[in-house]
């Protein structure tokens, strides 16, 4: 938790309305939504950008996002959902806390996320392809959640002097 992050404060504020909460992520409704039914999924830890979020947290967050997306279909009778991650200031991220936007869509809601395509020459595309391939070679190792160490209670066996104890019985027999 970071003290000057508004989202961290909101997460740990117990009075705050949360529609979902577990040990890794929290889901809240956006107070100034793009459309009725705009949900934010936030990791509980403070990660400013996507690159800092561990793989297993990210994977978990998206599984929750998917469930929320299904819930939006079922409760608000929306006909579609958009899932948007804006990463980095250049990507349009508004606050220094990583989040996933889930927006319920209906026909004629006035939202449009369709980009205007850029025309690139074949050459440019080929260079991009090569550059990308160079970087994607390294993909394959994903960070898994480390199992927490199991705390074992130290139980030292005490030899009691009970009659029934085999060791004591044996000890007495020795002359």
């Amino acid at each position: 938790m970071k003290k000057d992050c508004a989202f961290c404060q909101a997460i740990w504020d117990r009075n705050n309305e949360k529609i979902y909460e577990d040990d890794k992520v929290v889901a809240v409704l956006d107070e100034r939504p793009a459309a009725p039914g705009h949900v934010l999924v936030l990791p509980k830890e403070h990660y400013p950008i996507l690159e800092q979020v561990p793989d297993f947290v990210f994977r978990h967050a998206f599984n929750i996002a998917n469930k929320i997306s299904i819930a939006l279909f079922e409760t608000l009778h929306s006909q579609g959902t958009n899932i948007i991650v804006n990463n980095g200031l250049a990507g349009g991220q508004e606050s220094a806390h990583f989040m996933i936007n889930i927006i319920a869509r209906k026909e004629g809601d006035g939202l449009n996320f369709q980009w205007t395509p850029k025309q690139l020459s074949e050459e440019e595309m080929s260079t991009i392809e090569l550059q990308m391939k160079e970087q994607t070679k390294a993909i394959g190792q994903f960070e898994e959640e480390k199992a927490k160490p199991i705390e074992m209670e130290a139980k030292a066996k005490k030899i009691s002097s009970d009659e029934g104890n085999y060791l004591w019985k044996k000890a007495r027999r020795i002359p």
Binding site: E17, I19, Y20, A27, L29, R32, P33, A35, P36, G37, V39, L50, E51, D55, F58, R59, F62, N63, N66, K67, I68, S69, A71, L72, F73, E74, T75, L76, H77, S78, Q79, G80, N82, I83, I84, V85, N86, N87, G88, L89, A90, G91, G92, Q93, N101, R105, E107, F113, Q114, K118, L120, I128, M132, K133, Q135, T136, A138, I139, G140, F142
Partner: protein, 225 residues
């Protein structure tokens, strides 16, 4: 392939229709290699290609190898894998193009702007002042009552999905509860009390009739036809 009439489509089983959709899906052909594309990443579950209509240079599209029309159809482990790869590709974009940010974008359903009947995850590298504004999420003012109503309904549904049982409550009824609400904190308490009455008490018989009509996920997936 032979032309099919509507009559034929009606007589087909859902499995056959799914098979037909797969055969007609251009992205399934791209994944299998029948249609040429610029593949940038591939493993046993996903394929990443470069978008032919990019929003920005380096715009990649991540496709699951299986044919899924929309996200709710994807099993949890595949979905998790898709997005872990999406994250890795986003990271690759930052390195390859010295981008300052990325957008990860998923459209579920025609209304949301999905054009092909194969789910895909867009990963778009971004630079400052590149002139793309469509991904900036707009903010609108909303009636707090409506927000509260949505929150109540959604929370119940999500709790239900995770195994906590409540009575079914739909949005219209939650809204009906809202107008009686008084302003300020008292009002909120009142709404919560009412909600508690609805959920805490014994289930009434009338409520069973008021179940919201069930949304069929397959229907949304079939809207592409």
């Amino acid at each position: 392939m032979p032309q099919l009439t509507e009559e034929d489509l009606k007589n087909m089983t859902p499995e056959q229709i799914a098979e037909l959709q797969k055969q007609n899906c251009i992205f399934c052909h791209i994944v299998s290699g029948k249609v040429a594309s610029r593949k940038v990443y591939e493993d046993d579950k996903v394929t990443a290609i470069l978008d032919i209509n990019p929003a920005n240079p380096g715009h990649a599209v991540l496709l699951p190898k299986e044919h899924y029309a929309i996200m709710p159809q994807i099993p949890e482990d595949v979905l998790g894998h898709i997005f872990m790869v999406a994250k890795a590709i986003s990271h690759a974009c930052l390195k390859a193009f010295k981008a300052q940010g990325t957008n990860i974008f998923v459209a579920n359903g025609v209304v949301a702007g999905q054009r092909a009947q194969h789910l895909m995850v867009h990963i778009i590298p971004r630079k400052e002042n590149d002139g793309i504004k469509v991904f900036n999420v707009p903010h609108k003012e909303i009636d707090p009552k409506e927000l509260k109503a949505i929150s109540v309904v959604l929370k119940k549904r999500i709790d239900e999905m995770f195994g906590l049982k409540h009575d079914v409550l739909d949005l219209d009824r939650a809204k009906k509860m809202a107008p009686e609400q008084k302003a300020g904190k008292e009002g909120e308490e009142q709404l919560e009390e009412e909600a508690e009455k609805l959920f805490g008490g014994e289930p009434k018989k009338e409520e069973e009739k008021e179940k919201p009509e069930e949304i069929d996920i397959d229907k949304i997936a079939d809207m592409f036809k």
